[in-house]
Assembly symmetry: C2
Homo-oligomer: 206 residues x 2
């Protein structure tokens, strides 16, 4: 999906095909956030007046590019786990043995379909933390791109959250479901005020 032209990705997102959907859109928005952090770094490193933050910006760039690569993997993973869930629901249910195998298949698929958006949510929180550094120490001329980064990552986090909530609802492993929701809500509680603060700070310094 990530190899396809942007316009074709958007056409497929809009279509009645079940994938790509909101989960893939979340991972791409998260990747856009990471890319915007990288852009700020790339326009700060080597710029006169920013010598004192050069090393910090190089490290920030490495981190942002690593997150971006992992987000790209999650676009593929999101579609794969969705297909896995659909395939599990289509398993035969004629005999008791069939039914047991199908139920186990569904649970395994739903577990994977919870872990992928939760991973996406963790990476989004990471992009938000990286945006803070880009906004504070990056090239002031492109500080709006740090503001765009944080908005993209926060939207991606909330889209990923919806996909976690959907899937935990059908999980039989209540401890795993509860732990997933707790982890997610910790990220949401941390990132909501942090994102707003970064956006306000960027706006004030424009």
């Amino acid at each position: 999906m990530i190899d396809k032209p942007v316009e074709l990705f958007l056409d497929e997102l809009a279509s009645k095909a079940p994938t790509p959907g909101g989960g893939s859109a979340a991972a791409i928005m998260g990747a856009m956030g990471a890319a915007l952090v990288s852009m700020v770094c790339n326009l700060t490193v080597g710029k006169k007046g920013y010598e004192s933050v050069e090393d910090e910006m190089q490290r920030l760039l490495t981190d942002a590019e690593s997150v971006r690569a992992r987000m790209a993997d999650l676009v593929r993973a999101d579609m794969a786990v969705f297909d896995q869930v659909m395939a599990a629901y289509r398993m035969p249910k004629d005999t008791d043995e069939d039914k047991q195998r199908r139920a186990a298949g569904i649970q395994a698929a739903l577990r994977a379909a919870t872990e992928v958006p939760l991973d996406c949510a963790r990476l989004c929180a990471q992009v938000i933390r990286l945006s803070r550094v880009a906004a504070d120490h990056g090239n002031r001329n492109v500080i709006s791109d740090a503001g765009a980064a944080v908005m993209a990552a926060h939207a991606a986090l909330k889209c990923a959250a919806l996909n976690v909530y959907i899937n935990v609802g059908s999980l039989k492993d209540e401890a795993f479901a509860r732990s997933s929701v707790e982890q997610l809500e910790t990220l949401l509680a941390e990132c909501e005020p942090a994102s707003e603060q970064i956006f306000r700070d960027v706006k004030e310094r424009l």
Copy 2:
């Protein structure tokens, strides 16, 4: 840009090239929001149990696809106006006549660079209104995609807002600058609570 593979778009967003930047990212996020509204429509039209909203969903689809096409145009326009601003700043300034022509060129370019993100912000507000309908009347099985749509559009609106704020700061036409900021802030004030409400409603109905 929109004809390029997603991965290449992300590479160019991350690079030190000044375009694409946050403005193009905003238009693509807005287009993703519109595409997700269309996806909900496409998975509602023709579905059993949704006959009573069929006409409404067809109209919603037409509106969402129209907004999506206009967002795609804004990706191109964002890059064009950025280049126009850069070209204006590079105009000769040797004679008084040069300086006058350059100053006029810069002002015309900044005006265009204000109008493009303001158009993007208006379209984002439109996507948020369309998401409300998708969330309320679309196929309940894909309601999370309506939630993803509203988050993408709201993030895009805030990214577009930053680009309006940057450019109005250098505008000499104060009436135009003031009017642009007023229009923008009306959209922001309307869309912030509306987006939060749609997200909460979707989350509750998952």
